[in-house]
Symmetry: C2
Subunit: 144 residues, 2 copies
DNA sequence: TCTGAAATTGACAGTCATTTTCATTTAGCC
DNA sequence: GGCTAAATGAAAATGACTGTCAATTTCAGA
């Protein structure tokens, strides 16, 4: 659950006092993410907020979701059609099982996969590695 | 190296004789892919062909690359920005180790990972699953 | 070699997610 | 309350990709 939006020191340098502000829009986006369980696109979250009465400009929803994912507060993955979808996740390293039809998401862990990725990277002389791993399919509900 | 573009039986039914034809455009796209070693976008391949003198319409390059990847003759992955990039790969199922600096790509296989993906999918009742797995890092050349 | 039906091409317009612009509003510090 | 940088959001722009369709090309059969 995410209650605070964007965490960063309010002051970086006495000369220019920069700060991230708490707004009703950011609170609304964070609340929507907390209520929604599955990966959702920016447009879906925007629509959700509109239906809910907490209308937020589409541009602001885009900006807020991007800031949240940059801060590591939400997970973002690319759907198979290339669209970005967001979800509040656990903080530990994990991957996802995502339903192509309804978006239903299950977090999965695979220590063996992590070790494999590290060893194959090392064997090929790669450093500073990171990886993406997502499984798409039809959840039991959507499998008919 | 890809020399033939699109393989399919020329006749599926005597009523409607369907067939995939060999054209200079498809040959040119296949040749470009054979010459290029790393993942490239449709626009990059279109530009490459133009510079090379074998200009092919952008729409045709899009169609040809999509047909090639649908046929399994080339690999396609989504870049971080959601753009599709293509590359000639081996025919067996594999994944990639991609240098985020120079684009250098190494094909890797991980039977254990495949089994893990299948079992975790089945355990959660997912069907029709597919997965994406890419490792990004710095190749030995780019690691300083 | 000739012919014609079906496949292909490509210029152009359309779609749609995402970004940019910028005038207006707002949060937070005094 | 006043001030100012941060934030908002409506509207326009961007850019990857798709749809359309008239013109062109392939190739199987005559
Ligand atoms: Mn992992
Ligand atoms: Mn695999
Ligand atoms: Zn589902
Ligand atoms: Zn490199």
């Amino acid at each position: 659950m995410v209650t605070t939006v964007m965490v960063r020191s309010a002051k970086v340098h006495p000369m220019s006092s920069l700060g991230v502000r708490s707004t009703k829009q950011r609170t609304a986006v964070a609340a929507a993410l907390a209520e929604l369980d599955d990966f959702r696109s920016t447009q879906e979250i925007h629509e959700y907020l509109k239906d809910r009465g907490d209308s937020v400009g589409l541009t602001t929803v885009y900006r807020t979701l991007q800031a949240l994912s940059a801060a590591g507060d939400v997970d973002v993955i690319l759907r198979e059609d290339g669209e970005s979808v967001y979800r509040v996740c656990s903080t530990s390293h994990h991957h996802h099982l995502v339903c192509r039809q309804c978006g239903h998401t299950v977090e999965v862990e695979g220590p063996a996969v992590e070790r494999w990725a590290d060893s194959v990277s090392a064997a090929n002389g790669f450093t500073s590695v990171s990886h993406t791993l997502e499984i798409f399919g039809l959840c039991s509900n959507c499998s008919h």
